[in-house]
């Protein structure tokens, strides 16, 4: 067991981990940040995406020890302190971009990374960027629409619902 220290959502966090402990396990089991979900074991589904030093990372594919000293942000740190949803979160609600909610934290974190690098992505750029995030509920229609809306693009031409 070794001690790891990192900053998670702006707060210092530390814990004892085994060498094999994944960052996703550390967040969920040691810090009780259960918004980061684990939907597969082959780094495919993207439900576990968090940001490490500003970069979107699949936390099931990174050891907790590798995040030593890093700035980690998770879904729990995305809304304002008073609970107000951020632009991306609000767009997902406004456009029904989630159903069961299980893939949603990863979708929101992946979207945040996309919009940081590409503030006005095209529909095709969004679809390609979501290649590593699987949603089984929405058929992606309303996720794409929500991301277009979150980036300030007009989605009124798409179906009203």
């Amino acid at each position: 067991m070794a001690q790891v220290k990192m900053t998670v959502n702006g707060k210092a966090a530390s814990g004892e981990v085994e060498g094999r402990t994944l960052l996703s396990s550390f967040l969920r089991d040691s810090l009780f940040l259960t918004g980061t979900h684990v939907g597969c074991d082959t780094s495919q589904c993207g439900a576990c995406v968090v940001h490490v030093d500003g970069v979107a990372v699949k936390s099931c594919t990174m050891l907790a020890a590798e995040a030593e000293g890093a700035e980690v942000s998770t879904i729990e740190g995305q809304a304002a302190p008073d609970g107000t949803l951020n632009t991306i979160q609000q767009a997902f609600q406004d456009h029904h971009g989630l159903q069961c909610g299980f893939c949603t934290p990863g979708m929101v974190m992946t979207t945040a990374a996309l919009l940081k690098d590409n503030p006005k992505p095209s529909e095709q750029e969004i679809r390609e960027h979501l290649e590593g995030n699987i949603c089984r509920c929405t058929g992606y229609h309303n996720i794409i629409k929500a991301i277009l809306a979150a980036s300030g693009q007009d989605v009124s031409a798409l179906a009203a619902e």
Partner: protein
């Protein structure tokens, strides 16, 4: 009907989902998010052999590993009941289906890859997994039966030694129609025959299954937290049939559940194990499935092999239809496995058409594969796919327009009694087809095809109709058909003293948005804001005995119970209001949350009446009880019959066989719609699953019963760049005539309606490129399409 966007609250409003707030902020409470003091973890050692005899199982080294609490094998469960099947199908000779014992942990033999052999309970999951690797298992491998045709051969290896063969049942429906149907084929002007496979799928809700068992010795109380679509069903099946726990000592909780799609209906061994082990170890025991485990332990879906024949007269009227299907059950009978290829499939074989004679034969077959059960649509996609593919093939053979051929054979008069034992109450199939032609811009197709051809691509347009049956009922009928459960649902409406309302419902929401849509109904009925109403679901200690959510039943069945309970509330509150206003309750009206007496200026607010019910100082105590809480159970008199018309436009790259979905349109008739935004979302998701089945997904085994598609590396899930924006419409509305909301159900439509149009479109594209291809089995992967092109 007002347009969707015009309605701001109540029935018909696209109210934003209140549950989204917790899901968008990481505050959801899924079963794996729960941890209990003193909790141990279980890891299941699963068979990596499809079929074999367990010679020995040595757990001694494993038991000495760090952190191990206890190791369980099949021996500990021999006195425990079999995992039950919830539907007994009677075969065409009147005999009951063959029903093997389904143990919690393997007893003597293993029968599919993934079957749990032993369970290691340890302080941590890592320690449990390490110890499981130290268990020494000696299994003599036996030949595996994987292919259904092989499984039915004389002398085939038997999956279960104590059964007479691998045939679970041979079902004929309607047996009395068989001779007349066969005779109609003899004299038909044209017969189209199609052999097809409905490919095996894995449901893949994004949240893997989890079970957390807890036991309180102080009051002999068991609690199971589980990823279930129907906690009361689990309590009944597990309590009564497996573990023998009386229901008042067993609480089942399904908190936030991350998608179900059918595969979380069923009672699984892991649930029984964790409940049992929590008492045996005297501490909470938790199991979290990995995705790899999910692929080999969640019940799979579909897996039918069919020959379908359609007979037409000289005027292209359908005169008879017959179909012969082999349905894979896997190694054991999962909870509703037996009902899927029979009552959920045979009864839908009329489709949207007035074919007078229909005969359905289904042979259900045991194989050394994971059990197969309901997956989104369950039997109805299999029926729709057969019907809509054979009609398209007939149109091509006869040189007639596939839309015209469908239209001339539509059922147009309702109610309509089909030759397969159901009665459609309402529908308008021409209306949905007209709407489809509009939203799919069929008029522009030729120009789009030319544009594709200019790029060297072939473009195809495929269409189909579908009909489904939702809200299986009534209970006394399904009981006669072999169901071992009732199929009603229940709701309790608890009005609080200050007028807010908690509605406890038997339905379970795992993505469907009940927490938003159900209050819309009650708000509309009483005339108070939606935010005054909350839904409670998913906990047997809090809700009335309801049957849960599957088969697009929640609103049609549980919603109807909620309406009935709310009607009781309104009737009682009118009596209280009448007392307060010194009027007759017959003269009291309730509108916008205010009671008034017709023809007078007397009125009293909703909150005043509810307060009077709980502070009954000025109250007719001699006539009515205080309090304002009512329960209703609702058992529908019939199925509901949503129907629609779907269209897919594809481009095929002739050089690679790669298919891309260019447009997808869906015109559905769901009857009345409560929340159009949620309904459209349900259709979107269903379409993606149907396109996934048609183009991408296929669960594969090798000849030894090894699962070849055991992860997302080799099972192709639909991703964002596989799919387009969809055009969906549900403005064609013929309300259901036999439930109080006039609703039909929308959850499965997309998955039922979409696969045939995708395949029809690809066949159209290939033929437009001069390739006379009649059929390709799903999934239409590039290699299959390329081979079809190059072998045509």
């Amino acid at each position: 009907m007002p347009k969707d966007g015009d309605i701001k609250s109540g029935i018909g409003a696209s109210s934003k989902r209140r549950e989204d707030i917790r899901f968008l902020t990481g505050a959801g409470n899924y079963t794996d998010d729960m941890n209990m003091r003193g909790q141990a973890h279980v890891f299941f050692l699963r068979s990596d052999i499809a079929h074999g005899t367990i010679n020995s199982l040595d757990t001694s080294a494993a038991a000495a590993m760090p952190g191990v609490v206890q190791i369980f094998t099949g021996a500990e469960f021999e006195a425990v009941g079999s995992i039950p099947c919830g539907w007994e199908v009677t075969d065409k000779h009147g005999a009951p289906m063959q029903e093997p014992r389904h143990p919690v942990l393997a007893e003597g033999k293993v029968r599919h890859v993934g079957e749990p052999i032993a369970a290691v309970v340890a302080e941590s999951l890592a320690e449990a997994r390490d110890a499981a690797e130290a268990i020494v298992v000696d299994i003599s491998e036996l030949p595996a039966v994987v292919n259904m045709k092989d499984a039915l051969k004389d002398g085939a290896t038997k999956v279960h030694d104590d059964l007479t063969s691998n045939l679970c049942y041979d079902w004929g429906f309607v047996e009395e129609n068989k001779a007349a149907t066969d005779a109609a084929f003899e004299t038909a002007h044209h017969v189209t025959t199609l052999d097809l496979v409905n490919n095996r799928l894995v449901a893949n809700p994004m949240e893997p299954r989890v079970a957390l068992g807890d036991y309180s010795r102080a009051d002999d109380q068991h609690t199971l937290y589980t990823t279930s679509q129907n906690p009361h069903v689990i309590r009944l099946l597990m309590g009564a049939f497996v573990l023998g726990i009386p229901e008042h000592k067993l609480r089942v909780v399904a908190p936030d559940v991350g998608g179900g799609f059918g595969t979380k209906i069923f009672h699984y061994q892991e649930e029984a194990f964790c409940t049992f082990a929590a008492k045996a170890c005297n501490r909470p025991v938790k199991w979290t499935s990995s995705r790899s485990e999910a692929f080999m332990s969640d019940a799979h879906g579909r897996d039918h092999v069919t020959t379908i024949q359609l007979a037409l007269d000289k005027d292209n009227n359908f005169v008879a239809l017959r179909t012969d299907t082999q349905a894979n059950m896997g190694a054991y009978l999962s909870t509703f496995a037996s009902s899927v290829p029979t009552w959920l499939h045979g009864t839908l074989m009329a489709g949207n058409y007035k074919t007078p004679l229909i005969y359905v034969n289904v042979k259900a077959v045991f194989t050394n594969t994971v059990p197969v059960d309901a997956y989104r649509g369950a039997g109805r996609p299999e029926a729709t796919y057969q019907i809509e593919r054979v009609i398209d093939m007939a149109a091509r053979e006869l040189g007639v327009d596939p839309i015209d051929l469908r239209r001339q054979n539509y059922v147009t008069e309702f109610p309509y009694a089909t030759p397969v034992a159901v009665e459609y109450d309402t529908g308008d199939y021409h209306a949905t087809m007209d709407k489809l032609i509009e939203i799919g811009d069929f008029a522009g197709f030729d120009a789009r095809r030319k544009a594709s051809e200019a790029k060297g691509k072939w473009r195809g347009l495929g269409i189909n109709n579908y009909i489904e049956a939702c809200g299986i009922a009534p209970s006394n009928l399904v009981g006669q058909l072999g169901a071992r459960a009732g199929l009603y649902d229940a709701a309790t409406v608890r009005v609080n003293a200050t007028g807010s309302i908690s509605v406890m419902v038997g339905a379970h929401s795992h993505g469907q948005g009940h927490e938003t849509s159900f209050p819309q109904v009650v708000a509309e009925m009483i005339g108070i804001p939606e935010d005054q109403i909350d839904i409670v679901h998913g906990d047997t200690s809090k809700i009335p005995f309801g049957m849960g959510t599957y088969g697009s039943r929640s609103l049609a069945v549980c919603g109807s119970a909620m309406v009935r309970a709310t009607e009781k509330i309104i009737a009682k509150s009118k009596k209280i209001a009448a007392h307060l206003m010194e009027a007759s309750d017959m003269d009291v009206e309730l509108k916008d949350g205010v009671f008034s007496v017709a023809g007078t200026d007397k009125s009293v607010a909703w909150g005043d009446v509810t307060l009077a019910a709980y502070v009954p100082h000025n109250y007719p105590l001699e006539e009515i009880e205080p309090g304002l809480e009512e329960t209703a159970f609702y058992d529908p008199s019939n199925f509901t019959y949503p129907a629609g018309a779907y269209a897919c436009e594809v481009e095929v790259d002739p050089d690679t066989g790669k298919v891309t979905i260019e447009r997808f349109s869906a015109a559905d008739d769901f009857g009345n719609v409560i929340n159009p935004m949620i309904v459209s979302g349900q259709v979107h998701g269903g379409i993606a699953q149907g396109v996934g089945q048609a183009l991408l997904e296929g669960c594969s085994y090798d000849d030894n019963g090894q699962l070849l598609t055991g992860s997302y590396m080799d099972y192709a899930m639909p991703r964002a760049d596989d799919l387009p924006f969809y055009a969906v419409d549900h403005s064609c509305q013929t309300p259901c005539t036999h439930n109080p909301l006039g609703v039909k159900g929308c959850g499965e439509a997309g998955a039922i309606g979409s696969p045939p149009s995708v395949v029809n479109a690809v066949i159209d594209a290939l033929n437009s490129g001069g390739k006379k291809v009649a059929h390709i089995d799903m999934p239409l992967s590039p290699d299959r399409v390329w081979n079809a092109i190059n072998n045509a």
